[in-house]
Amino acid sequence: MAAGATLITFDKVWKSYGQGEAKVHALAGVDLAIRRGEFVAIMGPSGSGKSTAMNIIGCLDTPTAGTYSFMGIDAGRLDRNRRAMLRNLYVGFVFQGYNLLARTTAAENVELPLIYRGVAARERRDLAMQALAQVGLVGREHHTPAELSGGQQQRVAIARAIVTRPTLLVADEPTGNLDTARTHEIMELLTQLNTKLGLTIAMVTHEADVAGYAERTIRFIDGHVASDSKNLEVA
């Protein structure tokens, strides 16, 4: 789909750990831009800096040097609580291990981000139901994660990520724990959210066919962007 205005900008972003001799650069001066409505796959071997980049994109982490701007905001300089607010308002997260609260129903899991937004209980419930309907889980609202399959759990996690109508969805190996058929379903769902809702998606994966669902692939190696290319249209 047509890309809009710039959402995310990395301007010579560095992320370093340790001191002196033992200093390691997870990101070594990365420049990057993602536009609204894009579906970007981020690939690279482990230790390449892709996870660090994702954490910064999701406002979970801040750069050691350089500027990370999100929606024109210098998010890299914000304190913990302001970044938490930013995440709550504009970012949805989907993780490899689903990260749902155990012994908590699907609906309650989906409602969680709304609690921290101060949304009233009734409205929360309605929004959660809508989000669950969007991911095709009508009738499973009162199941706990233990009563759901892996694919269904990931759908709950996606519902939780989109219930706040975020601008950006950050997905960290969303299909890493799923079989091929489930992977296909989840990727179809993400693609649909991207095209229908115009949701910007940044997804880390190390599977080429999963990355193939995205429009663009950014490859990290040793803390640098090694390649950044438009994907060919997939069927």
């Binding site: 999701g58 979970l60 609580n81 938490a84 609260l101 969680l112 921290y116 937004r117």
Partner: protein, 405 residues
């Protein structure tokens, strides 16, 4: 938001029933101990006060022998001049501010009626005794003055003596044998029950002092003189007057110590009450230490809980929870937990105190202030001991927390 958090914490408490219960146990035991101790303690204090007022309020008791000094009662070597008729006469003649003055000599004596026998406290006294001790008659009449003077063989008996000899029957007019003398029952004393020291106050026989002296004691001594103050005179004022009169009567020169002692029952009552209050406070403090231990238990479990739920904290932080949300969540959880423990503890403590009041026959005296304090204190313990673990949870880095297995 707060209500939401309370619900959340209740749910997480319910999720780990066994662990929550074990955590509660410390607080439950602590609060139960404090409540039981303080309730039983205040019941005991009441009981002691009631017992002593049974002995007679505003009562001075004079007995022969030196006043008890710091080293206790006088040594064995001293020859004690017993109180005598002339001391009593001097008091009756000169003492102002007294409602009743009465002599009393006592002895444990075998009392016989028919084939039954009983060892009873037999007291030789006069008709003012009932007034001085604030004792009442259920039936019959007190000694007349002429009976007191002449030492007639008449007596008043207590409820225990009546039951032993007459069952449900009427004792009046019956003749009982006291030691080797016989006396006619002319009245029945009101039941008074046991003293706090386990003494049966109803196992008594009263007879005229002269009859007692002649036929039972075999001397003319008076063991005690009971002096009841009138309503406007405090015993503390009466005591020096009594002392002066008795020193005069005994011709004790100012350089010598008195050879009698005056006990003020009001003072004794106050002393005993304050002693039990101190005791109660001490027991409460000891029980309070177990509350502290309970609080440490809460801290321990909350730390475990925070560690165990690191991932959950990570998820919450990632989707937009602020530090304060996490802090409040765990703080509320700890507080709800210890408050719950406090409430259970109060119920158990009150049950224990109730049980104790039945078995020890003391009044059940729960204090709303103490209960309220226990509730407040257990909530405070939750907050104080929950704060550190909660802060630890709130300060977690969401990235590390999410990676936590």
């Amino acid at each position: 938001m707060i209500w939401e958090t309370v619900r959340l914490s209740l749910r997480s408490i319910r999720r780990n029933v066994l662990r929550s219960f074990l955590t509660l146990l410390g607080i439950v035991i602590g609060v139960a101990a404090v409540i039981a101790m303080l309730t039983i303690g205040s019941g005991t204090t009441e009981k002691v006060k009631a017992d002593i007022s049974k002995l007679g309020s505003n009562l001075l008791v004079v007995r022969s022998g030196r006043p008890a000094g710091p080293g206790g009662p006088g040594g064995l070597d001293q020859v004690v001049r017993p109180l005598a008729e002339k001391d009593l006469a001097a008091l009756v003649a000169h003492l102002t501010g007294a409602r009743a003055i009465s002599p009393a000599s006592q002895k444990q004596v075998r009392v016989i009626f028919g084939t039954e026998s009983l060892t009873s406290g037999v007291t030789g006294t006069d008709s003012a005794y009932l007034d001085a001790r604030d004792w009442k008659l259920v039936s019959g009449r007190p000694f007349s003055d002429s009976e007191t003077r002449s030492g007639t063989g008449v007596c008043l008996i207590g409820e225990t003596v009546r039951q032993q000899f007459f069952g449900a029957g009427d004792p009046e007019g019956e003749i009982i044998r006291v030691n080797r003398t016989s006396c006619k029952i002319i009245g029945l004393l009101e039941p008074k029950g046991y003293t706090g020291f386990g003494q049966d106050q109803d196992n008594v026989v009263l007879m005229p002092l002269h009859a007692y002296q002649r036929r039972i004691a075999g001397n003319r001594d008076i063991d005690n003189i009971y002096i009841a103050a009138d309503d406007t005179t405090p015993t503390s004022e009466l005591q020096p007057r009594v002392e002066d009169i008795l020193r005069d009567a005994g011709r004790i020169t100012p350089d010598r110590e008195s050879d009698f002692a005056i006990r003020d029952m009001t003072q004794i009552a106050d002393a005993m009450a304050s002693a039990t209050t101190t005791m109660t406070g001490m027991l409460g403090a000891v029980a309070g230490v177990s509350l502290l231990v309970g609080g440490i238990g809460i801290m321990n479990i909350m730390l475990v809980s925070v560690t165990e739920r690191t991932r959950e904290i990570g998820i919450r932080l990632a989707i937009g929870a602020h530090e304060k949300h996490i802090l409040i969540q765990f703080l509320v959880e700890a507080t709800v937990l210890s408050l719950l423990g406090g409430i259970i503890g109060i119920l158990i403590g009150l049950a224990l105190a109730g049980l104790a009041s039945v078995t020890l026959t003391i009044p059940f005296a729960p204090s709303p202030a103490v209960i309220l304090l226990a509730v407040g204190f257990s909530a405070l313990i939750g907050m104080v001991f929950g704060f550190f673990p909660a802060l630890r949870g709130a300060r977690l880095d969401p990235i590390d927390a999410l990676r936590h297995e």
